[in-house]
């Protein structure tokens, strides 16, 4: 366990609090692991504001909410459960929120946030009472995998649709978009670039793919050059505590709350008995 001399007293605290040597690790390894996980999932900071903006939320406020919710929830996981797991707003349910709840069903985003709140409360209750175990056991493994895969197909479809790679066609419902449109072309180029990075196993490949694609978008006139690299944080106020819980308690909202709770439940599949290791190792 070689730690920096200067960090000696802190290491001692970390050692005791997180039981580092008992887990066969040390401060340096843990911090490097944290950086690795962060780089791998930081794309959510760029993707979530764009998705939830389409629900009418303020993009800057969502950026702040994403960073803070991820930080607080991950801190709680680390300090309370002592696991190396990181949390952030999930891909899939953010798209469901923006394009199904708000877009398709016309629910105001404040009410939709209320539904998210209630689905979280239900998850807390169900976890504390052990009902979660019952649900996990009742649903056949194949359907749990199917829900996960379906959410994947769903967000991929959203990606194709939002980028204009897939468009609507009155005769066939769907069609391929027009690659002479610069934005569609940029998305297609970005897809290839990101795919190469991910296939090569580059750490943070998705984040890097988004950044490179954005930079290519500058001469194409699609990406607006930011005024600065860093700045004071944008205001979180437009979305903070704006949730409408009372509105979410209407009968018509029950199926949606149930869906959120359910899909979230399946997002946690790795907490139950499941699956064999398979190919991707990011």
């Amino acid at each position: 366990m070689k730690n920096d001399v200067s960090a000696g007293s802190q290491s001692n605290f970390f050692e005791k609090f997180f039981k580092l040597s008992e887990n066969g690790t040390n401060v340096r390894t843990e911090i490097l692991a944290g950086i690795t996980t962060f780089v791998t999932m930081a794309y959510i900071l760029l993707v979530n504001p764009i998705v939830l903006k389409d629900a009418g939320l303020d993009q800057g406020a969502v950026f702040m909410a994403t960073a803070l919710a991820s930080a607080i929830a991950t801190l709680f996981m680390g300090v309370y459960a002592n696991y190396p797991f990181a949390l952030a707003p999930g891909m899939g349910l953010n798209a469901f929120f923006a394009y199904v709840m708000v877009g398709k069903m016309g629910i105001p985003w404040q009410t939709a946030l209320g539904a998210v709140f209630l689905s979280g409360i239900i998850a807390v209750i169900v976890t504390l009472t052990g009902l979660r175990e019952l649900l996990i056991r009742a649903i056949p493994m194949s359907l749990k995998h199917a829900v996960g895969a379906g959410i994947g197909l769903f967000i991929a479809f959203i990606g194709f649709k939002n980028s204009g790679i897939v468009i609507s066609n009155p005769d066939t419902f769907l069609d391929l978009g027009n690659f002479r449109d610069p934005a569609v072309l940029l998305a297609a180029v970005g897809l290839i670039i990101t795919a190469v990075l991910v296939a090569k196993g580059v750490k943070g490949g998705i984040l890097l793919g988004i950044m490179i694609t954005s930079i290519i978008g500058i001469p194409m006139g699609i990406t607006k050059i930011p005024a600065s690299i860093i700045s004071a944080p944008p205001s979180i106020a437009p979305g903070l505590l704006k949730l409408d819980i009372k509105g979410a308690l209407q009968l018509s909202m029950y199926p949606v709350i149930f869906s959120l709770f359910f899909a979230d439940l399946f997002d946690n599949r790795y907490f139950c008995r499941c699956g064999q290791p398979h190919r991707y190792d990011r």
Binding site: M77, P89, L191
Partner: protein, 177 residues
Amino acid sequence: MTIGTFVGVASRTGMIDEHGNLKRGNKALFADSIGTVIGSLLGTSNTTTYVESAAGVSVGGRTGLTAVTVAVLFIASIIFSPIALAVPTAATAPALIIVGIFMATSLNEIKFDDFYEAFPAFLTAVLMPFTFSISLGLSVGFIAYAALMLFSGRGKEVHWMMYVLAVTFVLYFAFIR
């Protein structure tokens, strides 16, 4: 996503007991649920545990200190908001597609040569994009599972909870939607 990998990594590192469950699983699940509640108060959709955590575990992360490091980096990233907010939709769409591919890999776990398994699983998965709704795909798939098993004489193998869910979904389609 890379759930299988995660379990694989986690079991190799002693985080998983002999039954395949996480040792402090309830604490982790509690933290996960609280995350959604906190997120909704701050103004974002459901917060969940990321399978990307496997990346840190694979380079040796074993304790909450890894998570605390991630949390600190999330806070630190706030100063880079101008960059984050300059990213166009065209640049994030590939991320949605590629994360979608990761999630779709769990199709591997479905035994498509067993039609009892393939039929409801296929409907669940493909109806999510085809109906443009996660919840509709899920409900139809669950009804299909209960119906297929019941009417082909294998109803006893189905957990009673699945019938409760399937009947609820049928009533929803019949009278509410």
